[in-house]
Every structure is written in structure tokens, then in C-alpha cells.
Symmetry: C2
Subunit: 496 residues, 2 copies
């Protein structure tokens, strides 16, 4: 018990230190004057160094050994120790020199990528990416050994623990078979429907912000425990009791900011709802990136792009912007929010094609890690996959295999969490819908409290106490199952 | 040289760490939602602990020993080592337990003070203040021994090094003899003049902010290296390249925010003008609190409350607020900004009576540290001193000896820096006025660059390379001399 208490105290310091870094990053994105960039870079580098020392403090290894199998600890404490062990292993099994080298080569590759992408020059990027891949495979090999899992799974575990690539393979293969013909059907159906007309006009930033805050409030965002600010790339930062959400306003298209805010509010509500007694402990953190994404997609996709939400929000839009023509009808807003297209760029993709983009990346990065795909062959493999999964081929690598930043600094194993999040969101929604006797009726009235309350009970307040699939079983009665997502797509995108 | 390099690297980390704490404090005052208070308290306590470990790292003592008399180092490096030594001694000569005890008792005393002041109950406060005083005297005794200076001077050195209490005694005694009869004269003269009429109206916060930013910009504040935000208590935080200035808006009285912003802008310009090559070293920091205050008072008092400034700014006020009656004349604004009154509260005092408030506190705290004044006798001593120096007696201790927070947590030695700052500002102004061939003509045109440039050369860019009096000799040709301040008061407040 004494060792456990020491671990708790140490991890509380680590957590607090992470909070400080979060505020410093948020400040950099929202407030920092341009002249402060150099100083901030130095501060963040120093903080990272100190944080790393705390995380790799050898005493943690000793204390973990002393705690052993955690006899005498409560469920929560045992789950806490398990998370500590996982953190500790991730942070300590790889030699510091290798981590540093990957970080250095990753920064270098990212720098080259910024111009190589602009110039559509994959050949220039290739050797740098090769180097990053090589080092990432070394890291993967060490972690695979340490965790006793396959190579790719060791990387995946960094972002979303508890789902194996074997499980993902099955789910993604099923989806990959489903999506292309489904997409054909959807496009054919949408071609028979009225053209969606995006509301046009000049939407003042201040008015958009007021609207965004109002929607956040209605969804349950507590402004005594968080803020909304502006940054070039929207994100949800901060920590429980102080969540820092950001967005970016386009005065010709308010839906960009609003849909973005709905998405980030999903993340924010998860953070706000984490178990308060465990705020500064590993077990009190969000389960993983897939679970986090499920919460943002639940709010943005399942709720925010639904017909019911459009019916509720259309009069609010009209009230605040004072416009009254047809573009503001609930029906048109719904069509705007659910328009499907084959497109090249993942970040602009819609709900139907997004998983296809992700599956492509998952397959390619898994093959690269396995050694089955050479960097030189990446562009062709990308283009073939795009044709197969999305039905179009990029004209160049700029909008092809060079579009995303993730691989440039070795973030391999991250991509699948986007689509796992979408699947989890659909599965949670189906259960909540049943238990709450129909979410649509609630959303239509703007009565979000029961829905968010359900997520709070089943997901937010669980923190990291359960592995992902166990959490899903407790929440929905079964392990991750893509059928809910497919049903959701069919209901939303095909004729009733 | 090797030891010196190690010191530089270590003090750079210490500086960066201080910067992080500055941003976290600024964020707490300006942005943090109320729910984040507990987490922020924990973060700041942790950061303070780590900072303290860095500052008391035993290697610093070894490196300082190795550097010895700094042979082979440049002037700046030698001055840097001297500042390191001073910092090191302050941070390390007092046992950690005593520091902690003082901090604990100080917090306790401050807590009691908050309610005791409200209830005008000095008897309740007395034992807590007694305890703080006792511990502060212990600290003073240890530092006095370590620095080889008198008891009070050891405390003073924490805030403004390089001016002794013996020098201050002479200067303050002279001022204490000058002020009461001078005040009589001023009040008699002002009684013959038109009553100052503060501009009234509803001054929207957004408009005030626009005005404040415009004045800051005109004075040379670089918004690429700083910001203006809102906090309950105005302050100037941040560091060079990223200065965080705050103010508070009263929509019925815009002069509050504007005069406050002028004051803080003086601080900000000092920070912005510190020697960039030494940004992260002790020698690159501001000289001390008195020198810092001199810069804020230079801008607020010497420049901002001058007749010439009123002539320049009056049309700007009229333009921005769109009002055009007599209250907006330069003459009236000047009278508003230079109105003198006997008043009980230091923070509300005018330029003439402020030093009297400070001299009273200086004499009392010096006597308390010397053991010549018991806590029990403080209220009477206060009231007598107020009568002697300001010419009024408080009705109660609430607006008497309990009005300031400083003593409550042992900040003794701080008060004199306010008035030393005022004296330095007047002395610098006199020299700049001579060298620039009349500042009034420049201010009247809003041409502040030569004046701020002069301060940049003589004060800002010097950092802590010179002791206060040497800096003054280089800038003005003589050591600190109160006659400039007295001349300034006579010129401004008596008939021409």
C-alpha cells in the first residue's frame, strides 16, 4: 500500500505537469504574440525534458514491482496500477537514444514534407520518410517484445489500447467490402434529391461565437469549467475542470465553425465527465483516442448531423443571423450536413467516405510496418487503394499519399482510431436510443441532458477503468460491432 | 569558463521556468474558468517546488566557487555572475524550514487579515502578524549576516539591491520635512482654481480597450511582443518578447483604465527593452522594483499626467468617445489628473501625498524589524504618523494600519521602492528633458519615440549590469537625488 501511495503521488505530479504543458500549448495557439514563439519553443522543450525525467524516474519501476499484483487494492486502484504499468512500459522500454533519434528524424521529415508536398515531389520526401519508418519499426519491435503483441499492435496500443489489429482487420475488411457499393447507392439516391444549398451571407465572427457558445451550453458544456477561444487549427485542450476548446471562424460559412464546435464539444464533454476522484491519476484519463473520437463523432455525426438536430437548430440559426429564405429550412440544412462525395482529401471527407480513407491508410501503414510495402511503392499502392475504396485516383501525390502529416513523425497506428471512433459512436448511439426510448424526440426538443447523461454514465465517468471492449460490453451488451455503423449509414443515406 | 557556461545553462533553465510560471499566473488572472482554480493551485504549488529545487541546486554553489572572481569573463558576464551570486545567496542562506514556516504563517496571516480588516478587528490580527514579523526578523538576521548588511537592508535587497536604508533615511527625512508644508501650499492653491470635473458618460469597454491599445502603440508598445487583456487587478506580467499587460474597465470612468494602462505600459516598455542577448540570464533582468516603478511612474506621472500630454490626448479622447463639452478640455483633464487631496488610502493617493504614505510605512516597518515598535503599538504609531505626514487621522484600523496586504505575508522592505521609483523617474526625466531639448514639445505632438528611446538606452538595455546608483550616475550624472522630484512637484503643483 505504501508503494501504491508513492505511485499515486508521483503520477499526480506527472498529471499536473501535463496540465501545465496543455495550458502552455493552448496559450501558444490562442494568445501568444508572434514575438513570443522562440521563448515558448525553449520553454516547451524544457518542460518536455522535465516531464520525461518524471515519467522515467527509476523509482516508478521499483514501486510497481513492490505493488506486484496489487493485492488489497480496490478495483479502481488495480486498474490505476495497470495503466501506470502500461505508461511506464511505453515510456521506458525503448532506449532514450532511439526515442531522441526518432524525434529528430521525425522533425526533419516533417520539415521536408512541408515543401515536398507543396512541390508534389515524393522522391524528395522518400528517403526521410524511409528513415522515420525504419526507426518506427525499431520502436515497434522493442515494444512488441515488451508487451508480447504483434509489431503493429505495439504501435496501436500507444493510441488506443485493448483492440488488436486482428480484430480491426476483420472489421475493416467487412467495411471495405460494404462501402464501395453502398457509396454508389448513396450517390445515385442523392442525385435524385434537391441540391443542398449552403446558407450564404456574411456571418460576423462575434455572432458565430455567440451561437457556438449557446449550442455548447445547450449540449451541457459548463463554462465554469471551460472556455471557447479561437485558433487556426481547432482543438480541444485542457483537462477536467478547465477545458479549452477552440475553433476558427469563416465569415462566409458559419457551418464550418459550428460543426467543428459540435465535434470538439463531444471531446470536451468526455473530458468534463471523467471521474473527478481520479482526475490526476492514469485511471482517471480518457480511455484512448478511439473512445475520444467516438465522443466527438457522437455529438457531431450521430446527433449534430441528424434530421432531428436540423429541425431543432434551424430556427436558432434563423434567429441569430436574422435571415429567412429557403436555405435555412431544416430539410436543406440536413441535406447540406449529409452530402456525400468522392473526394481526395481525408480531412474534408464526409461520414460515408471517411472510413474508406482511413482503411486505406491502415492497410498501407500496416504493410509498411510489416515490411510488405516499400516507401518507393507507396504512391502506386495509395492510388490503387483510393480507386478501390473511394472510386477515384489522385492526379498527384500532393493530394495523394503526401496529404497527411501523421506518418512524417512516425505516428503510425493512429489512423484506425478515427474509424473505430465512428463505429463506437454508432454502437453507443444505438444502445442509448433504445434505453432512452428514442433520442430523436429528445434532440428535436434540444433536450440533450438525458443523452449526454447516458454517455456520462457509460463512458465518461468510467475513465480508463475498463479496457475498450469491456467498456463497450458494459455499455451496449456486446464487443465492438460494425453493424451498428452500417445500419446507421443505411438509415441516414438511403431512401426510407 | 566551463563552470561559467554551466551556470549560464542552469540559469537559462531557471529563467524559462520562471517564464512558464508567469504565463500560468497570467492565465489564472485573465482566462481561467472558476472551476479550474483547484487544479491551478496544485499546478502552481508543484511548479514552485520544482523551481525552488532548480534555484537551490547544490551544483550552483560549486560552479560559483569555481568561477571565483570571474577572471577572463567580460563585463556583462562578470555582472551576470554577481547577480547569480546574489540570487543564490538569497535563495540558499536561509534554512528551507524557516522559509516554509514563513510561507505557511504568511498565508495564515493573510487569510485572517481578509476578515479582520473587514471587521476592523486589529486585536484578532495582531498575534498572526506578530508571528510573521518574528519569522521575518529571523530571515532578516540570517540574510544580514550572509550579506554583511544591517537587518532591514537585507530585506530591502530582495526588492531593490544597491540602495541602503542609511541613504533612504536621509532622502525620506528630507521629503518628510518638505511634504507637509508643501501639501498645505498645494491645497491652498488648488482651492483657488476651477474645480476639476471628471468626464462622465457611459464608456463602453470595447471602446476603452481600443483607446488603450492606441495609446500603448503610440508609446512604443509592440503588439507583436505583447498583449492587453482584462483582469481584476491590473498588472504587467510576461517577459521580454511576450509581455502580458492587463487592466480593468470601469464603464463610468474611463480614466481609471487609461491611467492604469499608462502605468503598466511603463513597466512593459522596460521589459520589452531589456538586453535581448541576456534575456534568460540574471544580468538581463530588470534592475529591481524601484527601477521598475520608476519606469511606470515615468510614463504615468512624468509624461501621462503632464499638461503637454493632456493637450495631445484630449482630442483623441473626444474623437473616440465622440463627446464635445467642456469636461474634455486639456485644461480640465490636466486638473483632473493632478488633483491633490489628503486621503487615507495609499493606493488611491495622488502624486503629492503618495510619498507621505510610503514614508510612514517605511518608518514603521523599519522600527518593527529593529524591535523598536511592538505590534500592539502599531495602530497608534500609524495614526500619529498619518497625522504628521498626511495631516489626517483614520477613524479606524481598517483604513489605517490594516489597509495593505504587504506585511501580512512578510513583504517588508518593499514599500520604499514605490517612492524611490518616483524619485528616480523625476531624476531621469530631468536629464532626458535636458538632453532631448525639452520633452514637453515632443509629448505635445505625441512623439514619444525619442523619450522612450532615451530610457531604452539609459535604463532598459542596461538590465542588471550596473547597481542602481551607478546606473543613475551613468544616466543622469549623479546618484539618487530627491531634489528633482521636489522641483517637479513645485513646477506641477504650485502657481507658475
Amino acid at each position: 500500500m505504501e508503494a501504491y501511495k508513492k505511485l499515486e503521488a508521483h503520477f499526480a505530479d506527472i498529471s499536473r505537469f501535463g496540465e501545465v504543458r496543455a495550458v502552455m500549448h493552448w496559450d501558444m495557439a490562442t494568445n501568444m504574440p508572434s514575438g513570443g514563439a522562440k521563448a515558448r519553443g525553449e520553454q516547451l522543450a524544457m518542460l518536455k525534458g522535465i516531464h520525461h525525467e518524471m515519467v522515467t524516474d527509476p523509482r516508478v519501476g521499483q514501486w510497481l514491482e513492490e505493488v506486484g499484483d496489487g493485492e488489497g487494492l480496490s478495483d479502481w486502484q488495480q486498474a490505476n496500477v495497470a495503466e501506470m504499468r502500461r505508461d511506464w512500459l511505453h515510456q521506458n522500454c525503448v532506449p532514450a537514444d532511439l526515442i531522441k533519434e526518432l524525434s529528430r528524424k521525425g522533425s526533419e521529415c516533417e520539415m521536408v514534407w512541408r515543401t515536398a508536398r507543396k512541390d508534389d515531389d515524393f522522391a524528395r520526401l522518400a528517403p526521410y520518410l524511409q528513415e522515420v519508418l525504419k526507426l518506427t519499426r525499431e520502436v515497434a519491435a522493442i515494444k512488441a517484445e515488451a508487451f508480447g503483441v504483434p509489431l503493429y499492435d505495439a504501435l496501436l496500443d500507444q493510441y488506443e489500447p485493448g483492440i488488436s489489429s486482428a480484430e480491426i482487420d476483420v472489421i475493416f475488411d467487412d467495411l471495405a467490402a460494404f462501402l464501395p457499393p453502398f457509396l454508389e447507392e448513396v450517390l445515385a439516391y442523392q442525385a435524385t434529391q434537391p441540391e443542398p444549398r449552403r446558407p450564404t451571407g456574411h456571418f460576423q465572427e462575434a455572432t458565430q461565437k455567440k451561437l457556438a457558445q449557446e449550442l455548447m451550453r445547450r449540449l451541457g458544456f459548463d463554462f465554469d469549467q471551460g472556455r471557447l477561444d479561437t485558433s487556426h487549427h481547432p482543438f480541444c485542450g485542457g483537462y477536467p475542470t478547465d477545458v479549452r476548446l477552440t475553433t476558427f471562424y469563416d465569415e462566409s460559412n458559419f457551418l464550418k465553425a459550428i460543426m467543428g464546435v459540435l465535434h470538439e464539444t463531444g471531446h470536451a464533454l468526455y473530458t468534463m465527465g471523467l471521474p473527478p476522484d481520479w482526475r490526476d491519476q492514469p485511471v482517471g484519463k480518457a480511455r484512448g483516442m478511439a473512445m475520444h473520437e467516438s465522443q466527438s463523432l457522437f455529438v457531431e455525426m450521430q446527433v449534430g448531423r441528424s434530421e432531428a438536430f436540423s429541425r431543432w437548430v434551424a430556427p436558432i440559426y434563423r434567429d441569430i443571423f436574422g435571415e429567412m429564405d429557403n436555405d435555412w429550412s431544416a430539410e436543406n440544412l440536413y441535406r447540406v450536413n449529409t452530402q456525400v462525395e468522392r473526394s481526395l482529401i481525408r480531412v474534408d471527407a464526409d461520414e460515408v467516405t471517411y472510413p474508406a480513407h482511413v482503411i486505406l491508410r491502415y492497410r498501407l501503414e500496416k504493410a509498411m510496418i510489416a515490411g510488405d510495402l516499400e516507401i518507393a511503392d507507396l504512391p502506386d499502392a495509395w492510388n490503387e487503394g483510393m480507386e478501390e475504396l473511394v472510386g477515384i485516383t489522385p492526379d498527384d501525390d500532393r493530394d495523394g499519399c503526401m496529404q497527411d502529416i501523421h506518418w512524417m513523425d512516425g505516428a503510425i497506428g493512429y489512423f484506425p482510431t478515427y474509424t473505430l471512433g465512428a463505429l463506437i459512436a454508432a454502437q453507443l448511439f444505438a444502445s442509448a436510443d433504445e434505453e432512452l426510448d428514442g433520442i430523436e424526440g429528445l434532440v428535436e426538443k434540444g433536450d440533450f441532458a438525458p443523452v449526454i447523461g447516458w454517455l456520462g454514465d457509460k463512458v465518461h465517468s468510467v475513465g480508463s477503468r475498463l479496457p475498450t471492449n469491456e467498456l463497450l460490453v458494459q455499455a451496449t451488451g456486446r464487443e465492438l460491432d460494425a453493424s451498428f455503423f452500417k445500419d446507421h449509414l443505411r438509415r441516414r443515406y438511403l431512401p426510407k
